[in-house]
Symmetry: C2
Subunit: 347 residues, 2 copies
Amino acid sequence: MAPRSSDPTGLHRVLDDATVLPQAAQRLDTTRTLWPDEVRVRVETLNLDAASYRQLERKHGGGGEAIRAEVLDIVASRGKMQNPETGSGGMLVGVVEEVGPESPLGLAVGDRIATLVSLTLTPLVIEDGLARWDGRGEQVPCDGYAVLFGRSIAAVIPDDLPAALSLSVMDVCGAPALTARVVAGYEAPIVAVIGGGGKSGSLSLAAAWQAGAARTIGVVPHEREAALLREAGLADEVVVADARDPIALRDAVTAAGGPADITVVCVDVPGCEGGAILATADRGTVIFFSMATSFSAAALGAEGVAADVTMLVGNGYVPGHAAYAMELLRTHDGVRRLFEGRLEALA
Amino acid sequence: MAPRSSDPTGLHRVLDDATVLPQAAQRLDTTRTLWPDEVRVRVETLNLDAASYRQLERKHGGGGEAIRAEVLDIVASRGKMQNPETGSGGMLVGVVEEVGPESPLGLAVGDRIATLVSLTLTPLVIEDGLARWDGRGEQVPCDGYAVLFGRSIAAVIPDDLPAALSLSVMDVCGAPALTARVVAGYEAPIVAVIGGGGKSGSLSLAAAWQAGAARTIGVVPHEREAALLREAGLADEVVVADARDPIALRDAVTAAGGPADITVVCVDVPGCEGGAILATADRGTVIFFSMATSFSAAALGAEGVAADVTMLVGNGYVPGHAAYAMELLRTHDGVRRLFEGRLEALA
């Protein structure tokens, strides 16, 4: 039975038999016609979640054709881009094409926006077969349309920055905002960011410093990234360690002035839970931003070593998060250089 | 190469090639001889984690023989009880058999104890083929031995309570302790406990009340459990809702005086993340205690509905958690009646 009214959560577009939210649904209704509180966006670029892209890359041995075929298949069969292994999706950039009369999002036709809700709950139709994408890299040129619900988040792309730069910041803007909030709850804490040289990691380091950290420690996987992060000047200490090796991670953070009061996990590889917990002081907090985090590994890992730490599921939404992240980029040359360097490497 | 010294985390018993903690290991060394900081326990009963047992039950269509065979196989091949699907294990009861000269746990030979670290990181050898277990139910009579590391948690079973009762309280004692800590951080909050009639749920309701909740709401799946919880007098409001239906859960909690400032998830079924998030007020906290929780469903679910909520991975360890839970049982007749009724139903 078709629903007679739309729900701000998008429930009216769920095609599953059970009542589940769009994010948990197997399949979404991608009908082009809008409900009164919806917005339709002409898609320009899909930005796949890093953990999702890595999984596809591993699965297909890096074969671009096979990766592209699987993304097309997922979107066609589910009506949204959600990697069945990682459960994650990504975000998109596009131009507002139509705004329902009851949409509360404040968008206008022609606005160039990034969606800050996940692709895992966004009705999506790909119309060009991803012909302009070779299957390599997380940025996917795409023609098609997507639908935003009443309760959603979208940010207009600023005029003063290149679009690719804005997009790559907005993609991870939940991390610095939540890091800043947690840091502000401690008195001059020591903050370790695992994966401090990455996108969410470098922004989180800048946020920790800005929010009052007494000392910041950036952990990176190899010397090349350490050199980049040192040059960016975003961390008081930069150390090299394999985050999947719990003892190595604990020892590296301790040697750099830890244990940390707050440990922020920003690396998209599985198996970092134990090391993050061991690197954190009693009554400290671990914030997990990686979609590769295992809930049970975190819960049982802390219990297993009798660690009295608070563990947060990194919520991608904090009010004002996009504006805050853009501000960090504008005011920290080191952050901007890292982001620009990353984009150049991709180009 | 065999390690030359033991590590308090039990690292010296990990047989994997990579350096991982015992909880993340594929296989543990179950050698009977102790390292100086270890303790060996003669096992009486294994208490399987509820999510793990349910998964085995579903997989084998409730067939007791097949469930028993799989548990034996897991323990024989991995040297520990860890369900490969859920990642979870359980706990055990036994009698201390030998104490290494450098053990910091304060245990003595002959002490009857419950281990409060997970079976997923406890070296375990089953010696009786689980001959006294029919594969039905989470309580598994067992003869064999287990090893506790230097950094571990074990509680001596109190004399004034039946052992089965103590065990069943200690199994979930992390939940009330963490709930109390979170409740104390709010000013007279409204607390909803999803699965309020269960073991961790009823203790969490008592803890919330004791820690200063202004109103407690217990959510249960059907009228029979609602009647039991009402009779126990542990919640100001008792409502029936399917926690997997996000809209039904949101509406039920709202009608009972919500949204909740703190929502505690204690049900061992997948798919409760979205409803818990929607039932929680802005700037509220969701505590996930269920091992069936999906990290990505929680993280993306909150972002997807633009929910500014703090989400905690329920850490099974809070200092003093076992004593606190036993105290709640002793001082709340309603909690004790629910636990005793549950044990009678199993007998």
